[in-house]
């Protein structure tokens, strides 16, 4: 799809490619990782899973790496702190750094100085705030781009946060699987709610976007019926929503879920989250400068 004819550049509808082609893939990964890392930290902090928080920390580091991999001049990346006043990338970069920094201290304290509860709680709250920020900024970075109508929607940050949360919860589920049963049930309940919320948000987003502009409705069409349909229906819908929901609903009625099924749901959920970032980034279309036929 990004293979447009050179003479159709800005004459026909055209997919953005800077944040998807080649190195651009790392942006999708970074956004995905930022989302689940944030979601996982929040969930892990709530359920007080040290391992969960540690994994969130790892994922955030990975996000940073993914980000660096996307830059053509990674050694200049320190410059990315310079313009938080207007740039979401600058803000996001700061959020990530703060999150990693705070979490590092918190994890060290939790592991080796667990008696410092006051400090740990403060750090957790602060890290939680930046976990949330790190997760939601990926959405803002995208939704800020008014040039790309399908992104330019207030729902995108909510969508990314929710999706990140669902992914984070799924990972937490995996981490807690062997452990406390009551916690597991509770976690499952939360996941059910989040998943349903996610499905609704996606629906509302698509619906809303369709009516916002021609470029956006065109993008939505490509998502649900065009070149991105496979990615959307199988990746986002089937893996990200349908399979996890089906499993969690069956488990709700069955009262008990087999670990095999749970693992399927978790993996499926993660694939879905990644697919969502790819789908949305790929759906990004520019409005042609010339009137399109």
């Amino acid at each position: 799809m990004s293979q447009i004819k050179p003479y159709d550049f800005m004459v026909k509808y055209q997919q953005q490619k800077d944040w998807i082609d080649g190195r651009g893939n790392f942006i999708a990964f970074a956004f995905f990782l930022g989302g689940i890392s944030g979601g996982l930290y929040l969930a892990a902090a709530y359920f007080d899973s040290l391992l969960g928080m540690f994994v969130a920390w790892l994922l955030s580091l990975l996000m940073g790496v993914s980000y660096m991999a996307h830059l053509s001049h990674p050694f200049r990346s320190w410059r990315m702190f310079m313009k938080p006043g207007t740039s979401w990338i600058a803000r996001g970069f700061i959020f990530i750094m703060l999150f990693i920094g705070l979490t590092t201290i918190q994890l060290i304290l939790s592991q080796w100085v667990p008696e410092a509860t006051g400090a740990i709680t403060v750090l957790k709250v602060l890290a939680g705030i930046f976990a949330f920020a790190q997760s939601i900024y990926t959405g803002f970075a995208v939704s800020y781009v008014s040039a790309i109508k399908v992104w330019n929607s207030a729902i995108v940050p909510i969508l990314f946060v929710t999706c990140g949360l669902s992914g984070g919860l799924a990972i937490l589920l995996a981490i807690t699987m062997g452990g406390d049963h009551a916690q597991l049930v509770m976690l499952e309940n939360v996941i059910r709610v989040v998943l349903i919320a996610l499905a609704i948000i996606i629906g509302v987003y698509l619906w809303n976007t369709t009516y916002s502009s021609t470029a956006a409705s065109d993008a939505v069409k490509r998502l649900i019926g065009g070149s991105l349909a496979l990615l959307f229906w199988i990746g986002v819908f089937l893996f990200g929503i349908a399979i996890p929901i089906i499993i969690s609903i069956t488990s709700y009625f069955a009262g008990e879920a087999s670990s095999g099924l749970l693992i399927t749901a978790i993996v499926s959920e993660i694939i879905g989250g990644l697919a969502l970032r790819f789908a949305i980034l790929k759906a990004g279309m520019y409005t042609p400068l010339l009137p399109a036929e």
């Binding site: 003479y7 550049f9 800005m10 004459v11 055209q14 953005q16 800077d18 944040w19 651009g24 996307h70 830059l71 053509s72 001049h73 990674p74 200049r76 990346s77 410059r79 990315m80 702190f81 310079m82 313009k83 938080p84 207007t86 740039s87 979401w88 990338i89 600058a90 970069f93 970075a141 800020y144 781009v145 008014s146 040039a147 790309i148 990004g284 520019y286 409005t287 400068l289 010339l290 009137p291 036929e293």
Partner: protein, 215 residues
């Protein structure tokens, strides 16, 4: 002071000289374009209109690219010119994403040459001395700021004196492009925009372009 252009579409024949003038002026590498000529058509046979728009960075007064740039590499001068400091750009491409006019591009392949697999031409070689380009950073039209600055220093007036006026403007064989100070109410360019009802290209993008088109 705010430099701007007014482009008379009736004059332009789509000869691409503005594109090549810029390529030669700035020794742009293969497949890098700071300006373009977009060609299309509207209508249905036999009532058809050919569309020819020569486009470049609009040097927006409210530029999306400057706002999103995390490093400050993309910046705006007092006179409205938006440019990229090559030494500061990290290559995050956010500005490329954000520009609704798609006027930015990344110079990636530093080994690209005009006659692939053959020697570099004298023109390419001297370009590397006179106007070197850093790979891995974002590029765009800079309204020929070097010409403007040197010209003003030499006491010339951009838009009036050729030496101080952007290369694409003075090279156009149909004189389709006018250049001047939009802040000066008495400037020729403001007169033209007013008289001939100039309007920005896609005002709905909301970036307040400094380039006006005249139908």
């Amino acid at each position: 002071m705010r430099w701007g252009m007014a482009i008379e579409l009736k004059r332009c024949v789509g000869c691409y000289e503005c594109v090549l003038a810029c390529k030669a002026e700035h020794f742009l590498p293969p497949d890098i374009f700071w300006n373009r000529v977009l060609i299309g058509e509207t209508g249905k046979y036999p009532t058809v209109t050919k569309l020819i728009y020569n486009v470049r960075c609009n040097q927006c007064a409210d530029p999306a690219c400057v706002k999103v740039c995390p490093t400050g590499a993309t910046q705006q001068r007092e006179d409205g010119i938006v440019w990229v400091d090559e030494d500061k750009c990290v290559g995050c491409r956010y500005c490329m994403i954000a520009c609704p006019y798609q006027m930015r591009m990344m110079y990636e392949d530093e080994n690209a040459q005009y006659f692939p697999g053959q020697e570099l031409t004298e023109h390419e070689k001297i370009g590397k001395e006179l106007y070197p380009h850093q790979p891995g950073v974002v590029q765009k039209c800079v309204f020929c700021k070097e010409r403007i600055d040197a010209g003003i220093e030499a006491g010339l007036t951009p838009g009036v004196d050729r030496e101080a006026t952007p290369a694409c403007v003075i090279s156009c064989p149909t004189k389709a492009i006018h250049f001047g100070d939009l802040d000066d109410p008495n400037s020729e360019i403001n007169r033209i925009i007013k008289e001939k009802h100039g309007h920005p290209f896609h005002p709905e993008f909301d970036t307040d372009p400094s380039i006006y088109y005249i139908d």
